[in-house]
Symmetry: C2
DNA sequence: GTCCGTAGTGTCAGTCACCGACATTAACAC
DNA sequence: GTGTTAATGTCGGTGACTGACACTACGGAC
């Protein structure tokens, strides 16, 4: 019953999240996820390529935000400040999805297989950013270095932000950039 | 026949490398690797936890180098310059293992599953470095940021070095640090 | 030399992630 | 109603990975 297809996908996401939280990633089978979602195991694999990917829908939104944010910065702006501005543009979206992000980070942090996937996603994102900077006219190796470094700073800021609940993310971002500037400038 | 155990492990590494190069990672089964190495599939999994790990012995050496290099830098040196010095100490070792590294990078770059593992290894290494810096007395978040950034710079330098055969790695490292200093200082 | 503990291996049976091929059904257009 | 299409169900299979148990080569104790 092709009841729009999107419904099944959403139910699978929900079921997977619940089961992973209840019993841990390793103790859950894809068949169980499918059963709770009311579909067949085969249907699960039509919506997601493997057992892990069901948890990373948020990451897809993130790549969208990054692309939009960089597109919103004028091409004349040099790579480093352009990325810096783009990060400021993304911060509110990140802050909004903070709760879901936290819950997810908890599962991911405790299971190696998911940390692997997360690390890979991050690497892909850095590559995407570098590519976008090149399209804006940056030299390839400068783009690479800027993407790597600034994304690293953002990732760091997110971590310290998660460790200090209630504080605004923007402050952590500013602080991290200032810290890096002092370190790398000398 | 426990013919020292190390021999079987080495044969497995060799067999896996050959087969992966010949037919590609996905087209090779662990049973085939074991067969070429003259052991059982079960024995393969006694030496390596999964199909991918057999390719990452070099990474283990790398973590050793990093630990030693950081230990060789006096504790009085601040985190950023300490890591900077440690990288200079590692460069020769990296340069020596350049050939093997290139061959491996080629396989890894072309298969997503291996890129995932590589990304995870890199993240673990950054975490290790941050931990070592903390042991030296650095504040946790500064250690995190320094490890992230400087390791990123090194990774970037290695990439440009691979793209420019024949040039010394140290030059790429110096160049990348200079570039970052100019970017992040402003 | 015999005995014995240990480490490395073989064997077997099983679970589970994942995939190809084909049949089926709901919804929608006409 | 009929045809089309997208989503699903069904079936069978492959291959990564694991637990349990038996076996065999080696080293040392005596």
């Amino acid at each position: 019953m092709p009841r729009s297809g999107k419904e099944a996908r959403a139910r699978l996401e929900q079921a997977a999240l619940e089961l992973y939280l209840e019993h841990g990633f390793d103790a859950v089978t894809t068949a169980e996820i499918a059963a709770r979602a009311g579909v067949t195991e085969r249907t699960y694999f039509r919506h997601f390529p493997d057992k892990r990917e069901v948890l990373f829908e948020g990451e897809r939104r993130l790549t969208g935000w990054v692309t939009e944010a960089l597109a919103a910065v004028p091409d004349e702006v040099a790579p480093w400040p352009a990325m810096r501005r783009a990060i400021d543009l993304i911060v509110p979206s990140l802050e909004e999805s903070g709760r879901a992000g936290n819950r997810l980070a908890a599962i991911v942090a405790t299971t190696p297989a998911l940390r692997e996937r997360a690390a890979a996603k991050e690497a892909n994102l850095v590559a995407l950013v570098a590519g976008l900077l090149v399209e804006r006219g940056a030299p390839a190796d400068e783009a690479d270095l800027v993407a790597l470094t600034e994304w690293g700073v953002l990732a760091h800021a997110i971590r310290t932000w998660r460790a200090a609940p209630g504080t605004p993310l923007q402050r952590h971002v500013d602080r991290a950039f200032a810290l890096l500037g002092g370190l790398a400038g000398a």
